[in-house]
Symmetry: C2
Subunit: 368 residues, 2 copies
């Protein structure tokens, strides 16, 4: 499948008009119109380490206009029209708002939000852009920044350029907006450090770790939001800086957080291209760290073990990396997990004085 | 009970030393030492509209040193010692980190985090300060700011003053730190608007609503965190500006979010004094709004109805305000709830062009 790059808003509008025109012409010819989008599932995905993300394969889903599909067909066109309006007006809508807007679409209104979400996902896949470019923003925000970075945004009325200096927020931070395509960056930082918990982030901020290490700190607050992932991706791409990920030492940290950030996820394969951070490296707590640092642990929960075994069996990312297979098998054997804050056993700031400097110096302790 | 005001770090240190000295002297006299803290429960709480928060009554919990209490007694002293160290070094620890630090306390180590959390809460109540002043910060952050506000913080190394202008974040926002006692403010805003969802906040930011309305926007992202509540409280107190709260029209929005922000909660009564925002007013979706604006609704869930009935029966805040009793009874009768984003039925920006301006003009549509 030919890859499409980030589209301008004109590109998005042209795409919507192109699809609409195709349907219009079919109808004029008295033929049944159809909508085509890629099949979104793990079965239609491949992992190619060169590109570095779960890539969608060629399987397609075709929706003909028939008696049984007429409502979804109409809804899809309505969502495309709403997207066109949003992009033209430089406005935004959450998926929840889009659902409520549909309440005025008479017979084409959505009964429940999962219906409208699914149609928005279809349109996203059909256009091969991320839905933020269609004007649809996530409900949740998330992701905070502190350190050696200047974010360039603009005043939303005057369009005047704004330089947001992330070294100037004291104990606070810069909160990433829901859509980040328009942001530009200035930085001389040596790396981006993406941290799992807000508590660890606050520790690193409190001690100005970014100053000592010449880096940019990102608080993911658990599984990173789309905006947070896209922000890290655009920043690391445009400034050519490496991304290091610091999570707990458990399958949730490895797969739900790190793997999702690095290569994306299966059920959103059509947008991984935009949201993955292929060059990310794992410098979080590994099974070896648990032993080497004698960390306090908790028993692996059943759900952890299931997650680990699923990953070994089904995850193309894990299947690609022997190092991860080895680490997971070791951890399942140890039957324990450890949190990043467990380093506090050796003193609250051991993470700053010892753990991070040693990790960063010794690539052998990383995971790919 | 005599109210204590916010304590300086010297005050906190003196308090810790005072308690420790008392115990030391008792031991020298060969008497059994004891620790006294107020009983923390709804049964030991009163609602006084003049003060405006759930206030703790005189019931106390005494912990003597006996064979069966020796471990908790030792742990309490250890936590006080940790707090002393944190305050002296101007450092912080999450409750999770404090738990891990205890792993080096030999027999006094905590087995599970709920044990250490409970001891931290006891020390907090014993000292009658909020635990952020003891150096213990919450795990989660939360709360974002945009609009007519300058936050004064300082560089954590150089101590140089930092002026953070919340009109200069473009589509982003200022993220509130975990501890906010040291912040100062400059503003000429007319009010603070605290918003339930990140999605609605992003809409108001995208359209520079704060500029038109001359206000400060706060995204609570659901139930506001301690840091977010304390930030709003300190800002509105020090600058004498009103606080308006904009939530969904459901019992969760009314009680878990608005009531918690305004008067605090029962199980944390000893700290409501610091975290409540007594002058907050409710301008969110009311049962009358659901009718007047013909909003799309969802059926009340069983948990909503239970929450509403519990509030009528047991909540001293609701028992104080006839307006709330009337509103809740009406809503339970209507059997529906509506979200703030349901206003999108009338157009995505109806909330900015109609709902908020009308609400702000007409106090009769508010709830107390």
């Amino acid at each position: 499948m030919a890859k499409k790059k980030k589209q301008s808003s004109k590109g998005v509008l042209d795409g919507i008009k192109g699809i609409a025109n195709g349907i219009y012409r079919k109808i004029l010819k008295k033929k049944s119109p159809e909508l085509v989008s890629p099949l979104r599932s793990l079965a239609n995905v491949t992992y190619n380490p060169k590109d570095g993300y779960f890539e969608i394969l060629g399987k397609k889903k075709k929706r003909d206009l028939t008696v049984s599909t007429v409502k979804t067909f109409a809804q899809t066109l309505r969502v495309m029209a709403l997207s066109k309006e949003l992009v033209e007006k430089d406005d935004i809508a959450t998926k929840r708002e889009a659902y409520y807007v549909s309440k005025n679409w008479a017979e084409a209104r959505f009964k429940e939000q999962p219906e409208s979400d699914s149609v928005i996902d279809d349109v996203e896949a059909m256009m091969m852009v991320n839905r933020e470019q269609l004007g649809f923003i996530p409900e949740e925000k998330g992701g905070e920044i502190a350190g050696k970075l200047i974010v360039i945004d603009h005043d939303l009325d005057t369009k005047k350029k704004l330089r947001i200096d992330c070294t100037k927020f004291g104990s606070g931070a810069y909160s990433i907006p829901s859509a980040v395509e328009h942001l530009k960056f200035e930085t001389k930082a040596k790396f981006i450090l993406a941290v799992e918990t807000a508590g660890m982030f606050q520790r690193l901020v409190k001690h100005n770790y970014w100053k000592k290490a010449n880096c940019i700190l990102v608080s993911m607050g658990g599984v990173p939001t789309r905006a947070c992932r896209r922000f890290i991706r655009r920043l690391s791409d445009s400034k050519k800086i490496p991304v290091y990920v610091f999570t707990d030492g458990d399958p949730y940290g490895y797969f739900n957080i790190y793997r999702t950030l690095k290569v994306g996820s299966g059920n959103a394969a059509h947008i991984n291209e935009y949201f993955c951070v292929p060059h990310a490296q794992f410098i979080g707590i590994t099974p070896d760290d648990i032993i080497d640092y004698k960390l306090p642990t908790h028993p692996l929960k059943d759900v952890d073990i299931k997650r680990a075994k699923d990953a070994l069996k089904n995850d193309p990312f894990v299947q690609h990396y022997k190092e991860w297979q080895k680490a997971i098998k070791k951890q399942v054997g140890m039957k324990v997990r450890a949190e990043q804050q467990a380093l506090a056993k050796h003193g609250l700031n051991f993470v700053i004085s010892d753990y991070l400097p040693k990790k960063l110096k010794n690539k052998k302790t990383w995971l790919p």
